[in-house]
Amino acid sequence: MQLSTVQPVFKLELNHKITPDVVTIAKYDGTHPCLTASAGYDKIIIHHPHGGMVSGRAQRSQAHGEVSELNLSQAVIALAAGPLRPDTGRDMLLIGSPTQILAYDVHDNTDLFFKEAPDGVNVIITGFFGKHAETLAIIGGNSSVQAIDWEGNEVFWNVVSGKVCAMITFDFDKDGENELLIGCDDSFIRVLKNNQFIAEIAETGPILCLSPVNEVRFAYGLANGTIGIYEEGIRLWRVKSKQNALALQWSGDTLACCWSNGRVDWREGTTGRVLRRVQMRANAAAMLLADYRSVGAPDLVCVSDKGEVLGYPPYQENTGFNTGTKSMPSDEDRLAITELFNKKQALMVELQHYEANATSGSASVENLERPASAMPTNTRLQVAILHSPEEACLQLAVSTNNETVVRAALVLAEGIFESGETFIRHPQPSQLRSLLHVPLRPPRDVPVDVHIKALIGYPDSEQFHIFELTKQLPRFAMYQSFTKEVRNKGNSYVTFRITERVQRICIWVNQNFLLEEELNIESEETKELHINLLCLRDQSYLYMDFAADGRVKFSTHDIRLAGDLIQSLAVYLNLTDLQVSVFTLILINLYNIHPD
């Protein structure tokens, strides 16, 4: 798509380099927004176009008259601002350095508090959370989140399983109180409520940004270039780009996305279709929403790493493509005609394809003079997934039903392959068969959609037929069942009690495990279920025993697996609360399950 010619409503130069993602806009005097950014290692610049306030530690910048500089003695990792003090409406600046947080009142030139952060500082946000009445500062560290009030007292603290990369406060369960959405580098978006994680959304890459859209939707961006929108925990759409999204903002009923290379696009909220696009002159440093012109509605403020600031008003339909020109009905017809020709052209190509087929359809398979693109019409592709304990992986078997060969297979799946999301098998000419195995090694237990594109033909073909299939790997696909009776099941296990018929458990097992044969309960009388499984990753064992009295015992040395199993089972059985005992070296009352 061509770049839109839409012009920014304001444009200014800060004459300072800006560190990407360490930018905020705050009203230090309670009314006038000031762009605040890190300009290199330990330097913070504050842009105050609405009147000077050079006082205290801030010094007037030599490079720009409306910019003050603030020098710290430590690297600036994160910046945030918010009306922390309940007694004033003024924003306080929060400065995160590698090991501490400084809250600074720019207007009064006083330090609010100074707090050590032994777990590191990655992200700081301010906002309301849960039942707390005052604005909190929430800090995401390397493996934890903590919230502090305006006096520097810790309000809560919790462990997170990965490095925190993005956070927002968002009313996830629509109970009128904000939860904390945490995006981590372990590819999960977690929802924290009252110091408990109530939901976990598996994504396909480290989460870089999160942004609220409306009461029920939020947008996310990943390190692999994906952006998308979730509505009530279900993904509405996602698109992928070569660039990484630096910031997402909801502006004028569109999702504005700022990519790290300086491109900004506006997308439709429900589909992700691009409505317009602009390109900044340098790489992007930030994109924020602020009423920087004091007109009463927030503009999109885009900042480049060279210090250029561009402001765009909320997206409006008629400024979308042809700025200014009215669309005539005849133009509409012409556009429609162009579009119809596109369709016609595509259809003609497809039709030619079938027609050429029909003319040669009478030719028999035995015909020795085979054209370079021929293939028997009744060729079909079959796909199966097998366990391969020898190679410690799953084998995706792709095969045809006749003498044609699988020339190549492309497998697209996210989060499975080390080298990105495609895996290709292209056998040597001497090894071409009608059966091809593709090894799959899902590193974690999440359900994965595997898309397969197989090229089918003869070894000497010049053109191959594309067969496409999608197969879903169940969540616990990496566990293979075996029937051998086992006595000693190890001394690490979890137990809990459920009151559920074994038949329903059986359905859960069939849905979530990859069994050679579906598990069947022979008679209604069966009350017990024992399943023995082998983990293909580390050759460890997993035993699941469902006793007649409702007692369940999962024996495994992997406490994470036990947690995942319980979580999955509880969601399936719709349990809101489950008391679990864990017997391993450490004894913890681990999970209180609350499905969303």
Partner: protein, 717 residues
Amino acid sequence: MDYDLSRIDYGICGITYPDTLKILPPSGQKMEQKFAIGDKNGVLQCLSIKDEEPVVQFKTLPGKPITSVQLASSIGSQADKIFTASGNEVKGYTRKGKVFLSIETSLTETITSMYLHFRCIIGSDLILCSGRIVTYYRDLREYNSYVCDDRVLDIAAFASTRVRLLVLIANKGAILLENGKLISRTIISSGPSRLTVPPSTHVTDIIAFYGAGDGSIGIITYEELTLSSKCLVDGRGLGSVVCLGWYFNNGNFHLSVGRHDGSIQLYLVDMENFGEKPRLKYTYFCGEPVTSVVGGCLGTEESELLVATFSGRIFGLRSSHLVTGAKVPQDILATRRGKLEVEVARLEKQTANEREKYQRNTRSLQAGLSTPPLLDIEHELLGATNDGWQEVRITSAVPLDMLFINSNKKLEMQTDTAAVLSICSSKEAASDLLASVRCQAGTRRVWVKMREIYNLSTGSKFEGSRVLIYALPAGAPRVARLVTLKLPALPYYSSHEALEKNFEKEERVWCQLEISGNFSVAEITSWLTEALPGELPRPASNVSFTRSHTLLDTILVCQYERGHATFKSDNVSTIATIRNIVSNCSVEKSIRVEMSCDIPHNCCLESFKQLENKFKQEYKKSKDIILKNAISMLDLDSSMNEEGPILCQDYARVWDSRDSINETRFEELVDIILQWYLDWRTLSLLENFNNESTKLEAALKECKVDDIIKILSKNLS
């Protein structure tokens, strides 16, 4: 961007080759002009435009692909005869569609449809270009011909008292021919691909604009008995020029340029002073390679730009005021749209039926044979320039979803910005490479650049690499076309040198390889395709040609005939590579060959002396890059502050030129020279002392020229 033109779609035809759309001159009093277009299906259509809708004047039956369309006149009248070239045939049509001429030339063997250009008929002269040959017919009889150094790309004829031909030659530049003899030549480094003669110039002036592969536009003139060229507009990252045309509007002439990247530009040309830089007035992106852009009065009395694309879209670009001025009644447009909607709906239904039938076939027990036609995908492999990258351009008539690439050797790769390249590890063998290129929606053209990873330890450089590219379209038909490429072992020898230039007299030290055995010219030609990029001369009784290395400027002279071949080069590694390839290939074919090498003992030393300056430059550059990286870590805004310069002079120089120092070939030069030394020792049957080569490598890396010369001249006695 002064002009505001809007697109009006006229219709679709088959795949088109460059410059196969021509606008006929107006007939009689009418201003409206007709146009003719020929496509790959061999259909020539002549159309006029009424109320934005095409009206067919005549249409021929399908046949061989039409590779060129040209207009010409019978004496005294306007140029209203349409000539088409397909295969080795030339046909002439009147404007009513009657065939009045049909000849089959004797160029049977030499014409490849791709390179056939048929440009000019002056009186009863006919000039055909096919492959590397320009053939001149007078009264339909072969009059003379000229064999060029490389493929002929385009031609223009200038006729006053005598006919002079301006010929564009691939990789070389332009030459001027008269009576089958060369009178002048000029070298154009940007790789010109098309030329066009400005309208209404004096016939005596020999002047033409050219468009080049790197996107630049320039001018070729013949003044004072010398042919010269001048670049007027830089490429600036624009796609290579596919076609040129002229557009007359508002009393001004504009050069219209259609490019491979799908862009169309209009440049205002000063007709009084052609050497003036043309001014860009308009740009339009249509998303797929443009094959023709010409101006004329089609639907209205004002001139518009008519465009044809590779996939066969024909559309006009009209001034917006004409378009919005509602000259065409609204209801006509609406009926046109309605008609199309009905047609598309019908096609959709038909396609759905056929699709159903096709899928039913897959479930039937009796196996028929499904033979879909080959996808229309064209590819072009360009020889390496001095950075070693070889570029493959893939153009498709249908939007592509992805490319899947397999190579039997490890390669470095780059691709379009509109595509995502991912290299996958391969399981079968460590030496091969798998990559996928995922394209953006609607991509119809994509390029992939490949470069061999230079590695001394693997002996694999003695063979070319085989690259398989599977092109997968985004929509129907669900078939993937396989494109097989052979990357030559000596990709740098892409520059052709004229035979008449006698390199052997130059001060070079020649290594020579003599091969004799029971092989044909065709066989040795096929062996050489493993080594050399680009097209080789067609087998003849005696073949000789010269190529030069684009990085090192070394020369390779090849001469062969049945049973005997001689290769001469001042690059010992080149000789070693050819020796290995020939011996491998001959063993494969079980043909006995005898080979003897004549390697002068001072060849390494002399070759190094030739390269010494370049080597020193590259060494400096590599040091500068290290400095540049270090300086850029300092995060400076400028090399000065209030107190004066903050960098020493040397550093400031690096800082100031930081944008221009990017890549150095130093490491590659080190490897090349080291390889020379090793090959020289091998071919001279000297033992390879590990010790010596390690010392040489160390000296090369430190650029100790004296030490290098000492080591290289050690065994000279």
